[in-house]
């Protein structure tokens, strides 16, 4: 099991830190560094990115040594559905209006749950959209059309 790196908790965490830190450093090369006295916009991020890489290397090596696995399964399906429902909401709200965006969001996100009952989701979507319309559009007076584009 020791060499199953794909599910090695610390190896993956370290890898993620190195990737993000490395990306930060690489991008920051386009920003002027300046000196310690007059730091340019690239100074602080370069240092932070490097530190993150160092932590990443440590965590990664530790993971290879300990070989601890990620607990439980990865919930890729619910994660993808939840993320999709949010993106869909953002995409639809200024094209079709708030209510259609919310209904779409409810249906897609409800698929992420363990059970999906069509009638229940429909009722929930209708009730909650009406509630949201009441609070955000009528209560807080946010200028979102309920139906139709901006």
């Amino acid at each position: 099991m020791k060499f199953d790196l794909r599910n090695n908790k610390d190896f993956l965490a370290g890898l993620l830190f190195i990737l993000i830190g490395g990306l930060a450093v690489v991008i920051a090369r386009d920003y002027p560094m300046g000196s310690a006295m007059r730091m340019g916009p690239g100074y602080f991020p370069t240092i932070l990115g490097s530190i993150l890489c160092l932590f990443g290397v440590y965590v990664m090596v530790r993971g290879i040594v300990s070989g601890e696995r990620v607990k439980g399964e990865w919930g890729w399906k619910p994660l993808a559905l939840i993320a999709l429902s949010i993106v869909l909401f953002g995409f639809l709200i200024d094209r079709l209006g708030m209510i259609p965006a919310l209904v779409a969001m409810f249906f897609v996100s409800a698929f992420a749950g363990r059970e999906f009952r069509f009638k229940e989701v429909l009722l929930l979507a209708v009730l909650m959209s009406a509630f949201a319309a009441g609070v955000f559009v009528y209560g807080l007076k946010l200028p979102y059309p309920l139906f139709g584009s901006f």
């Binding site: 993000i20 993150l52 619910p78 939840i82 953002g90 992420a112 229940e120 949201a132």
Partner: protein, 497 residues
């Protein structure tokens, strides 16, 4: 009696009809949502805080504070009734509170939790009023170097004391600092890490990070767990604790408050650690420790007092120094910034109505909680039965609408999905998200201070060690590190032998 005058002033602010109403709404909403299973105070605040944007600063913060301790209170209700803590701070309450509920004593357990919280809340409020002004006055002496060192200390403590792995805690702080840097650099006007997206030149929005990390990621984690809850509902008959209950829990309440008040001020520890610490303390000094875990009322009173006291005193560093001691306080700080208030010691002078009004409203809010909660327990219990499959789409709805409403921009909504995915992966890899949020909030400030400090010292980094206050913070940082690393190293050595 300056403090008395100030408190009176605070109460006149808090007792205005508008502020009283927002305090009530906050407390009610906080409890309502905090009671719902799987939603802790952090998510509650993150979700609800866009709706306070349109309010003036004072009622907005009063309402947010109300949501905060309301949600915390709601969390203890779920701990006692369903053995499901809304967050780590009330996890300890489960141990004995749930046992009491199983023995048919859910009523007294809830009542004692309410009384202990109220008592601790009163003391906490008083402590803020007492400690705030001198601390803020002292903080007025701080220059850029002092602030940098103080933040370094705060972030170190947050990384070290977070439950979970220390090195990952540090990495998360740094990651948070990096996310905080996204956007236009104030000194040069250069857009950093904006990837050509115009919306990103304003930085990653505060609600985007908070909601993504603490609502979206949390939901996916929760969806993996089985939905199995036992609710003790039929058995809540008498609410009132007996005289013996009150007597047994009075000292634990006082001790819990003291422990909580102390831990609340420390960065990164907050309510969670304080309730654990005080539970262990009670168990240690109890005449019969075996009762703990079997429904000992002290095991409810002390942690509940502690987490509420800590929740209150956590406001001290936030309000006086502008340094959040916990992720929740980071949210409050973000709310202040959005309201156009620059956090720091000058808040007390520039916005006295905010400072004293907020403090007074916390006391009023705690009183409201006691009055509100005990008769309404039946309602909360019914809420506990709401299935999660209705809850989580609704949480996403509020979060997304909230995010969208900040800038009326779908980009914020998309970003929230991205942060949510990242947050989920991090949680699965056992990296605590709370230090990240602290780093994110402090990132831009920290960069600003380090630049200014080094500009003044002409690039000489010893400035952080030659100015006495800054040196003291640096030594404290080092001490925190040594104290926390030493036992870990020793343990490793023992394991190696």
């Amino acid at each position: 009696m300056d403090i008395l005058n100030n408190l009176v002033f605070g109460f006149t602010v808090a007792f205005s009809l508008q502020n009283l109403a927002y305090c009530f709404i906050g407390v009610l909403l906080g409890t309502l949502i905090g009671v719902l299973p799987g939603i802790g105070p952090l998510v509650t605040i993150a979700m609800l805080f866009p709706i306070t944007f349109n309010l003036p600063a004072v009622p907005a913060l009063i309402m947010l504070a109300g949501i905060y301790y309301g949600a915390q209170y709601g969390g203890s209700t779920t701990s006692i009734l369903v053995n499901l803590p809304g967050e780590t701070a009330s996890a300890v309450t489960c141990l004995d509170g749930y046992q009491m509920a199983r023995q048919g004593r859910a009523g007294p357990a809830l009542a004692i939790a309410a009384i202990a919280s109220f008592f601790a809340g009163c003391v906490g409020t008083l402590l803020i009023a007492l400690a705030g002004p001198p601390l803020a006055e002292w903080a007025l002496l701080f220059g850029a170097a002092e602030y940098f060192s103080l933040m370094l200390m705060g972030l170190t403590a947050a990384a070290v004391l977070t439950h979970g792995d220390m090195v990952k805690g540090f990495a998360m702080v740094v990651l948070g600092l990096l996310i905080g840097i996204v956007g236009t650099d104030v000194n040069s006007g250069m857009a950093r890490y904006s990837f050509g997206v115009p919306e990103l030149t304003d930085g990653v929005g505060f609600t985007v990070v908070a909601v993504g990390l603490f609502a979206v990621a949390e939901i996916v984690v929760n969806l993996e767990l089985k939905e199995a809850r036992e609710v003790f509902t039929s058995k809540i008959t008498g609410l009132m604790p007996t005289g013996k209950d009150l007597k047994d829990s009075s000292w634990p309440m006082v001790r819990g408050t003291a422990v909580g008040a102390f831990f609340g001020v420390l960065p990164g520890t907050g309510p969670a650690l304080s309730s654990f610490a005080t539970y262990l303390l009670e168990k240690k000094i109890a005449r019969d420790p075996s009762r703990f875990g079997e429904g000992a009322i002290e095991g409810v009173a002390a942690p509940e007092a502690a987490n509420n006291a800590a929740a209150q005193t956590a406001f001290i560093p936030m309000l006086t120094l502008g340094i959040p001691a916990s992720a929740t306080m980071a949210l409050m700080l973000g709310a202040m910034t959005i309201q156009g208030i620059v956090p720091g010691p000058q808040v007390m002078i520039s916005n006295p109505d905010l400072f004293w009004g907020l403090i007074a409203s916390m006391w009023i809010g705690n009183l409201m909680l006691v009055i509100l909660n005990l008769p309404l327990v039946g309602v909360w219990v019914r809420l506990l039965r709401v299935p999660y499959r209705w809850l989580f789409p609704s949480i996403i709805m509020f979060s997304s609408l909230g995010n969208f409403s900040v800038n009326n921009s779908p980009v914020d909504v998309y970003l929230c999905a991205v942060v949510g995915v990242l947050g989920y992966i991090l949680v699965k890899l056992e990296c605590e998200p709370a230090p990240l949020l602290l780093g994110y909030v402090l990132g831009p400030l920290m960069e600003e201070y380090v630049r200014r400090a080094l500009l003044i010292s002409r690039g000489d980094p010893t400035v952080f060690f030659t100015r006495p206050i800054s040196l003291a913070f640096m030594i404290a940082t080092l001490l925190i590190l040594v104290v926390m690393i030493a036992p870990a190293v020793r343990k490793k050595r023992e394991e190696a032998h």
